[in-house]
């Protein structure tokens, strides 16, 4: 099956871009403006650089242990119990991400599109829709990402064209006026908008070019660069449109920016509905790989070959998780913080640990 059904490099790029871009793109400009002001582009670029390092490490793991999948590698490097502990945290992390995504989606769709539909119904229907794709193998999810990817790029280009007439680029000035002590927190904030590339851990073993490691490294790094550029564009557009003070108050500056579009002659206006529809697709492409990873981890923990069995029983767990926050602020404080801590463990520490231990073992073997 591996031979006939593989993920091409282009699909990997699409998969990463569509997985990484999610809720973050709507609120990132606001977060950066609050954290560091006009110079929010610096933490975005630094966040991108850290993600590139991270992606590079993930790729290196598969170079050290060729022709093995993530679970085999992890067991070999860390030992069964330590690795099981880590992937359990990884599993919880995926569930929390799912919960947060579906709750955010429900809140926004309710606000902009379906005012009277209860959010519970929105959450459950969306999780059900994702269930369908998450039961498939990674190749199919790769193809999903590959098809969502152009939609993202085209919408960003349309956004640029439509908002250019009304922006005042001098609002981005002055540059380099930030307080250096605020930088670490801002970089951390922007870094969390880049997580999602951990799907590489599951995708690389099925990649077409898995024997040509440098090609996958190049594709995945180019994907992160594309995401960085998209974030920078959105940041500059919103900053130029609103100026710093207004941007610091906009909860979802990207959507507000779309609401500002007003072409003459009543031709196109109130584009927020269309934008929400596109964004729903983008969130779908973010949720599907996350859901898939969660299922894959469970199937591995219970030593079952087919991950599809675990997808449907997870629905109620995600649903309950997503209803824990009592209001919009708590989505960020409760779910957001949980995701950030668990994310650091499972996305940063776990691959780095495997890589270092792998490197160490390879060296020792070479010495002997």
């Amino acid at each position: 099956m591996r031979e006939t059904n593989e993920i091409s490099s282009v699909q990997i790029r699409g998969l990463i871009v569509s997985t990484v871009i999610g809720v973050g793109i709507l609120s990132l400009p606001n977060k950066m403006a609050i954290a560091i002001g006009n110079d929010g582009w610096i933490p975005i670029i630094l966040g991108g650089i850290f993600s590139i390092i991270n992606v590079f490490i993930i790729n290196k793991i598969f170079q050290i242990y060729p022709n093995k999948d993530f679970f085999e590698i992890g067991r070999e490097a860390l030992g069964k119990w330590v690795f099981n502990f880590f992937i359990f945290i990884f599993f919880i992390y995926n569930m929390a991400v799912m919960a947060s995504l579906s709750r955010n989606l429900a809140e926004l769709v309710k606000a902009f599109l379906l005012e009277t539909t209860p959010p519970e119904v929105l959450i459950i229907t969306f999780i059900l829709a994702t269930t369908y794709i998450a039961r498939s193998e990674i190749q199919i999810i790769g193809r999903l990402g590959y098809h969502i990817y152009p939609i993202i790029i085209v919408s960003i280009i349309i956004l640029i064209i439509f908002s250019l007439p009304s922006i005042d680029y001098t609002n981005a000035l002055p540059v380099f006026q930030f307080d250096i002590s605020k930088l670490p927190k801002a970089v951390l904030d922007s870094y969390f908008s880049f997580v999602g590339f951990e799907i590489l851990l599951f995708a690389i073993p099925f990649a077409e070019d898995r024997n040509n490691n440098s090609k996958i490294v190049r594709t995945s790094i180019s994907a992160i660069i594309i995401v960085t550029i998209i974030y920078l564009v959105v940041f500059f557009l919103t900053l130029s449109q609103y100026g710093l003070h207004s941007l610091q108050r906009q909860a979802f500056p990207t959507i507000s920016l779309i609401k500002e579009i007003d072409l003459p002659g009543f031709f196109i206006e109130n584009l927020d509905g269309v934008a929400m529809a596109i964004w729903t697709l983008v969130i779908f492409a973010t949720m599907a790989p996350t859901y898939y990873s969660a299922g894959k981890i469970l199937s591995n923990l219970f030593a079952v070959r087919e991950h599809g069995f675990f997808i449907i029983p997870m629905i109620p767990i995600i649903y309950i998780f997503s209803l824990i926050p009592q209001n919009v602020l708590q989505i960020e404080t409760i779910l957001g913080t949980t995701i950030n801590y668990l994310g650091i463990i499972s996305v940063v520490i776990l691959p780095t640990l495997i890589y270092l231990i792998g490197l160490f073992k390879v060296r020792r073997r070479a010495d002997e």
């Binding site: 209860p118 000035l173 449109q241 100026g243 003070h245 207004s246 609401k259 206006e269 109130n270």
Partner: protein
């Protein structure tokens, strides 16, 4: 067989869930308000008088069944959105504010910063209201202004009277339309925003000048010529007609565009800003009794000087008023310094209003007559 029955029953159970959704609404069963007017209630009862106008759908189209083009309703409420809710109990359908175009602030409301801020905040917080809503200050009460729309003659569009006057490119700088986003942004940046004023005439509605809001409080007015001078000082002057006197007669000059450069000069702790304004345009009217032809360069240069003199007089007047009387930087000098000279801004930014009032601002206007028309 057994399987078929199970599938069939699943489908039958699903049917009721597939028939529609929570949000099904017929478009002709929603009212789309076009403008909303807010006044302070001076009589008994709640705080505001909310007036809402919306188009009468039955009066649109060829086979219109009703004459009246606009419906105007008003109520007394404690907030804008409460007003809308109250009104929906009196009307057959609910409101949807997605198409809201114009916000009219009554005169008595604009004297209180808190109230204006409250209204603006409510509008910008709402998910459905377009942030392109134009803000207008009524010379008297907003309710009267909206009630006079149906009386306005020469009204062609259904209901959109106010909005049509506030949108589109008009060759005048006598008033400057402002949107909700711009209003908030300008107050954030410089503390001052200027909204056009509107008054009811005998048989029409007139827009003129501007109302100066400083930190959401009305502090003064600009008349039409002053508003033009302000547009020149902001560097946003597009097309307009200037009338200047030249050798005992009047010449009129059409501008096609202007460019402005701000220059910051600092010497001996004294802040100085020079505004270099380049105006381009053509001569519209020129009748000279003795020498009716316009064919030498010197004459054109003299005319340019005359127009420059006129414009400099206008702008200096407004500058003087802004600096001395209102102490409010409506022309974006502070914004410019904070963007391009952040170090200077750190020193003076905290008490900018005082610094601005004592600042030396030099206006240098350069008018060019490029064309003279079809006849010499």
């Amino acid at each position: 067989m057994n399987k078929k029955i199970i599938y069939l029953s699943i489908i039958i159970i699903l049917i009721p869930f597939m028939t529609g959704c929570w949000d099904m609404q017929e478009i002709n069963q929603i009212l789309f308000p076009y403008s909303i007017g807010i006044d302070l209630n001076e009589g008994e009862g709640e705080r505001y008088v909310i007036t809402i106008t919306y188009p009468n759908i039955n009066a649109i189209g060829k086979n219109a069944t009703q004459e009246e083009r606009i419906h105007i309703v008003s109520t007394v409420a404690s907030s804008v959105f409460e007003g809308a809710t109250q009104l929906s109990t009196r009307l057959q359908y609910p409101f949807n504010f997605k198409m809201l175009r114009v916000l009219v602030l009554g005169k008595n409301i604009t004297n209180d910063a808190g109230t204006v801020k409250e209204i603006i905040d409510g509008m910008s917080r709402d998910f459905s209201i377009s942030k392109k809503v134009r803000i207008l200050q009524a010379e008297d009460s907003a309710e009267d202004l909206l009630l006079s729309i149906p009386n306005a003659k020469r009204q062609e569009v259904i209901e959109g009277t106010l909005f049509s006057m506030l949108s589109g490119k008009r060759s005048t700088s006598r008033y400057t339309p402002i949107t909700l986003t711009d209003f908030i942004r300008e107050i954030d940046l410089s503390g001052v925003a200027i909204a056009p004023r509107a008054a009811t005439g005998v048989e029409d509605i007139k827009f003129f000048g501007g109302a100066i809001f400083k930190d959401y409080k009305l502090i003064g007015y600009l008349d039409e010529v002053q508003n033009r001078a302000l547009t020149i000082l902001k560097g946003k002057w597009k097309s307009d007609l200037v009338v200047a006197s030249f050798q005992d007669m009047t010449i009129s000059y059409i501008t096609t565009g202007s460019k402005m450069k701000r220059k910051f000069i600092k010497n001996n702790e004294e802040l100085k800003v020079r505004l270099e304004i380049r105006v381009e345009g053509a001569l519209q009217e020129y009748i000279h009794r003795e020498n009716p032809t316009l064919n030498n360069t010197e004459l054109i240069e003299d005319m340019e000087k005359a127009i420059e003199k006129e414009l400099t007089k206008e702008t200096n007047e407004v500058l003087e008023m802004l600096q001395k009387e209102y102490k409010s930087d409506a022309i974006g000098i502070g914004e410019y310094i904070s963007k391009f000279h952040p170090k200077v801004w750190k020193e003076v930014g905290n008490d900018w209003d005082e610094v601005f009032a004592d600042m030396d601002i030099e206006v240098d206007i350069d008018v060019k007559i490029r064309r003279r028309g079809l006849v010499q």
